[in-house]
């Protein structure tokens, strides 16, 4: 209600909602004009491909000369596709692991930086965590491929140096370990956007709140668990959403490091989609996979919003 009141115009004294739409657009035409490029780009590069994928998921389409309407056949086929279910299982494992990782390591790193008394040191560590983010992701993956390399890799060589040859593995080629080796990429997982988001959340906590907790005799752990953590719940929610979306969309890591192998032990739906489209020319079926992934992400994002609410929402007002 207050929002409606705030848009009323002093000159007319008439609520804006009551004005004809075109008149309102005309009045704020400059603002609308500025919005046009943004929405035009969104329409062309985001909404149109998404709607096109939904439309093409109903066709048997090879991207070139064959395009037959097949209704929901692709979705039925997907339900019976063992590769889809296997890749989806891997995706769930990866998502759960990544959410768990992003809820702990970056949070811990951000909390430690936040609690540093020396501001220069805090600034230094913050920069230290940001710098690796400028390294292209592909380079990091290549470095990890080298680390995992069975013959000359850093990991196996280090294990040999420590006399732990019995622990040496063909990490990315091990049928039981490959998926976990993928999860381990980026260890200790603190040099990412998650740490910065958490840090911003910690820094936004009112100092009065922290001071009163100290006066009330709360221990460091109690302050973290019962004051700071609830206060960064919005950030946690954001990180969870971003992690889930990234996990569902991103297949670069498996494409580059394992190509879904060994066998199909690291195949994820994104890679299944990519191969189906680009290698097998089954664009319609690939669109169906994309559509299902889109709706799954949408549902998970909604659930996240619905059930993971911050006890206090700072609106800045």
């Amino acid at each position: 209600m207050s929002a409606t009141l705030s848009t009323s115009t002093p000159s007319s004294g008439q609520p804006a909602a009551a004005r004809p739409l075109l008149a309102r657009i005309a009045r704020y035409r400059t603002a609308y004009l500025w919005l046009i490029p943004t929405f035009a780009l969104l329409l062309v590069f985001n909404y149109y491909p998404a709607l096109s994928a939904l439309y093409h998921s109903l066709f048997q389409w090879n991207g070139a000369n064959i395009k037959l309407f097949v209704g929901v056949t692709h979705f039925v086929d997907l339900w019976h596709d063992p590769l889809w279910w296997e890749s989806f299982t891997h995706l769930i494992i990866l998502t759960v692991a990544l959410v768990a990782i992003n809820l702990t390591f970056p949070l811990g790193a951000a909390a430690m930086i936040f609690h540093l008394w020396n501001l220069r040191a805090a600034y230094f560590y913050r920069v230290l965590l940001v710098v690796p983010m400028v390294v292209p992701g592909l380079v990091i993956l290549m470095i990890w491929m080298f680390i995992y390399s069975p013959n000359i890799g850093l990991l196996n060589q280090s294990l040999a140096l420590l006399g732990l040859e019995n622990l040496q593995r063909f990490w990315l080629g091990d049928f039981k370990l490959a998926l976990y080796a993928i999860i381990f990429v980026g260890f200790p997982w603190v040099a990412g956007i998650g740490t910065l988001i958490y840090l911003a959340g910690f820094q936004a906590i009112p100092t009065e709140l922290m001071d009163s907790a100290v006066i009330d005799g709360a221990s460091t752990w109690q302050r973290f668990a019962f004051v700071e953590l609830p206060m960064v719940l919005s950030q946690i929610k954001l990180v969870v959403i971003l992690t889930v979306i990234t996990a569902f969309q991103n297949f670069t890591i498996v494409l580059v490091m394992t190509n879904g192998g060994p066998g199909t032990k690291t195949l994820v739906p994104g890679l299944h989609l990519y191969k189906t489209a680009m290698a097998y020319n089954r664009m319609g079926y690939a669109c169906a996979i994309g559509t299902v992934l889109f709706f799954l992400t949408l549902i998970l994002t909604y659930l996240n919003h619905r059930y993971l609410r911050s006890s206090v929402e700072f609106t800045g007002s």
């Binding site: 991207g63 069975p150 013959n151 080629g173 091990d174 190509n259 879904g260 060994p262």
Partner: protein, 501 residues
């Protein structure tokens, strides 16, 4: 004091409007070159992805000279055609097929693309590339003494680019081969001779293993390893093991082993054989292939299914493995690599699987070699849309004039020319062409190009698991039979005429 400058609001409005106008201008397609023709017209551009012939500067890390001949040929061509600019596309690191399909689908492909001849049956109806018959039937203006451009090539070489509709879509200009490269010093040290039979070879491998050296360097990594070594192995083994059933598979016609592409079993025949039960992954011959491969794998490097493909050569070059299956494209590296400090040689042929080793043995292996390596190019249909198809063809005609082709291939060092006039060709490549001509090429290759790409991927995934001990032979056979039937059915749906002999 009066203020004549722009207000902040006005400045922002003007900046925004200018930015938006520039963005829109950038989105407008450029004017076609034809419309701008005139004395000052821009040169027409022909872009070319030349795969292994793509010229580049030598890097500090290079242990041998990279190919550069196309730069010299480009210069010579520019002297003749100053109005045409050639643009060589940098190498596409991995996932070439996916990259190519994306470019072709989007209509953004270069005018000339490297293309595997085995893909033609899959793609020829998609209007992605041009039928070259009208050009091949005309003389090549850069070659004298031949009636047509087609006539300048060795018959089987140029015919390899023929699609099921009978038209040629691919310019093929070279011959490629593979061989067992062996560490002669190691063999001499152990008193081993080049084995002639598989049984002798097994004994030699055991002796090598006992000496602490890996007998055979190979990779079954999914990133290149299995598609290469898995493909070669299954193809040559099947040719031998299925020899007695070739006529049955082909529908009654005997299939002789030659080096001419198109004379082996073709996709429609394979599809019918699968449909009619004349070729199946549950066949005893198929299971025998799996048995031989599995037994051989005990002599492969530890964790060979996880071994990066580049390590196959490294293990051999550093003396850690005694034999490596390498291709003619390694001819130049092997001769120039300072890492190799031993005497080496190439088995004149693969050791024969006799009946002592397998009940289906007896016939010698074919050469794992064939027509078309680095020089297999299609001209994409976008060349016509961009108005440069004639320039594109002209550049290819220039490039395939025997002296030019041989200059480019000699500079690369790994491929023999596929033209009739081979004067000046690198004689060190004769070992591969001799093997191909003497032993012929495999007649059956269902895993590379005859069935669907989806089937091929399933084959390599499961073969890797089988070789790594994650699947039994029976499981592998059963899974692949299902995949094979699915692929055959899919192809029959797409090409109903394939169902009739």
């Amino acid at each position: 004091m009066s203020h004549n400058g722009l207000s902040r609001r006005r400045f922002l409005q003007l900046s925004g409007a200018t930015g938006a106008a520039l963005t829109l201008a950038a989105c407008i397609p450029s004017t076609p070159a034809d419309d701008m023709a005139g004395p000052e017209a821009e040169p027409r551009v022909v872009s070319h992805y030349a795969q292994g012939l793509t010229p580049r500067d030598r890097l500090e890390t290079d242990r041998w000279d990279p190919p550069q001949a196309l730069w010299a040929l480009e210069e010579a061509y520019k002297d003749l055609h100053p109005d045409v600019d050639l643009e060589f596309i940098e190498s596409v690191a991995s996932g070439y097929d996916e990259w190519m399909v994306t470019q072709l689908t989007a209509g953004t492909a270069p005018e000339i693309l490297w293309y595997q001849r085995g893909w033609i049956a899959r793609d020829y109806e998609k209007n992605w590339f041009n039928n070259l018959d009208p050009y091949l039937s005309q003389p090549n203006p850069y070659v004298e003494g031949y009636d047509s451009w087609k006539d300048t090539f060795q018959g089987p070489v140029i015919a390899s680019g023929t699609a099921p509709d009978g038209h040629i879509y691919l310019i093929t200009g070279d011959i490629v081969g593979t061989g067992f490269f062996y560490n002669k010093s190691k063999f001499d040290e152990l008193g081993l001779a080049v084995p002639e039979t598989w049984a002798e070879y097994e004994e030699a491998q055991q002796a090598i293993a006992d000496s602490g050296t890996t007998p055979f360097s190979v990779s079954y990594h999914l990133q290149g390893g299995t598609p290469l070594y898995g493909s070669w192995t299954t193809r040559v083994f099947q040719d031998v093991l299925y020899d007695h059933k070739m006529a049955q598979i082909s529908g009654g016609t005997p299939v002789s082993r030659t080096w001419k592409p198109g004379e082996g079993l073709q996709p429609p025949a394979m599809v019918r054989a699968i449909r009619d039960g004349n070729y199946a992954a549950t066949d005893p011959e198929w299971l025998e292939m799996l048995r031989l491969m599995k037994e051989w794998s005990v002599h492969y490097p530890d964790g060979f299914w996880a071994l990066p493909t580049a390590d196959v050569f490294r293990l051999w070059a550093e003396g850690e493995a005694a034999v490596a299956w390498l291709g003619s494209w390694m001819n130049k590296p092997v001769r120039n690599d300072p890492l190799i400090e031993f005497e080496w040689g190439i088995f004149p042929k693969m050791p024969t699987v006799t009946q002592e080793t397998s009940q289906y043995g007896g016939l010698g292996f074919p050469a794992m070699a064939g027509v078309g390596g680095v020089f297999q190019y299609i001209t994409t249909t976008v060349a016509e849309e961009r108005g440069v198809l004639d320039d594109t063809i002209d550049w290819l005609q220039f490039l395939t004039a025997p002296p030019n082709l041989i200059e480019a291939l000699n500079d690369h060092g790994g491929f023999a020319p596929g033209v009739k006039d081979t004067a000046g060709a690198d004689p060190s490549l004769a070992v591969y062409t001799d093997m191909l001509v003497n032993f012929g090429a495999e007649r059956i290759e269902p895993f590379d190009s005859m069935l669907t790409r989806e089937f091929v991927d399933a084959m390599w995934r499961n073969l890797q698991q089988f070789m790594a001990g994650e699947l039994s032979a029976d499981e592998m056979s059963s899974i692949m039979q299902q995949e094979m039937e699915l692929a055959a059915q899919q192809l029959l749906n797409e090409h109903p005429d394939w169902g009739e002999a």
